[in-house]
């Protein structure tokens, strides 16, 4: 969840630019949604409980979880209206957040 904070500050700008933010994690959705409501950020949370989609996109950090379970590799991907990737960040370090201004610039450029 901490990883969503970087974009939290620009959610409204992203919405104003017409973009939808889909946040994907293996967590059950209710917890994520409760948390987002608490933070007042407008994400649409999608549960990838068994990491099927995450795995299909090559974004699994094997054994990276607290108990050695597989977790998603933190990633931010900007997709245009045609479904084509226009900007992407694949984290090499859990602490790294995408630069909110870069994401916004990528979305506004679409």
């Amino acid at each position: 969840m901490a990883e969503l904070q970087g974009l939290g500050a620009i959610t409204h700008e992203l919405e104003a630019a017409g973009a939808e933010i889909l946040a994907i994690s293996p967590d059950p959705n209710e917890r994520s949604q409760q948390l987002a409501d608490g933070l007042r950020v407008k994400y649409r949370f999608l549960a990838d409980t068994d990491l099927t989609v995450t795995r299909r996109l090559g974004l699994v950090h094997q054994g990276g979880g607290a108990n050695g379970e597989d977790v998603p590799r933190p990633a931010t991907i900007v997709i245009d209206r045609q479904g084509v990737v226009r900007w992407a960040l694949f984290a090499h370090n859990v602490q790294v957040r995408p630069d909110a201004r870069e994401v916004l610039r990528a979305v506004r450029g679409l």
């Binding site: 969840m1 990883e3 933010i21 994907i24 293996p26 933190p74 991907i77 209206r81 992407a88």
Partner: protein, 130 residues
Amino acid sequence: MSAPKLAAAALALSLGTVGAYAGLIAALSFPLPPAWYLGALGFAAALALAAVWRARRWLTVSAFAVSALLLVAAGLFNFVAMRVPESRPLVAVGQPVPDFTLTDAAGRPVSLSDYRGKKPVVLVFYRGYW
């Protein structure tokens, strides 16, 4: 600056940096950028080393021990524990993303293709609630 003052400054900077990291995580779930805390801890260790250089006393030596230990621990934390190994993303700039369907918090199915021709999408993959 006198050796005890240098040692005290080093200790304050070291412990303050660790406190700032923990405080920022607790309050905003946001980590202090690694370059900042490694820089601050490195500077603190250098201050403590200067203090030891000027006067080798228990205060200066222990300040150096504490700041050097925290610097090494922070380095291991950043470069080993927090590192994400390279995966082979099957997503690349300029390429289409394969469609998928997942359920949202209300249990409704959502497909990436629902937005085709309508809205840009920002996909955020994250590890979960922690």
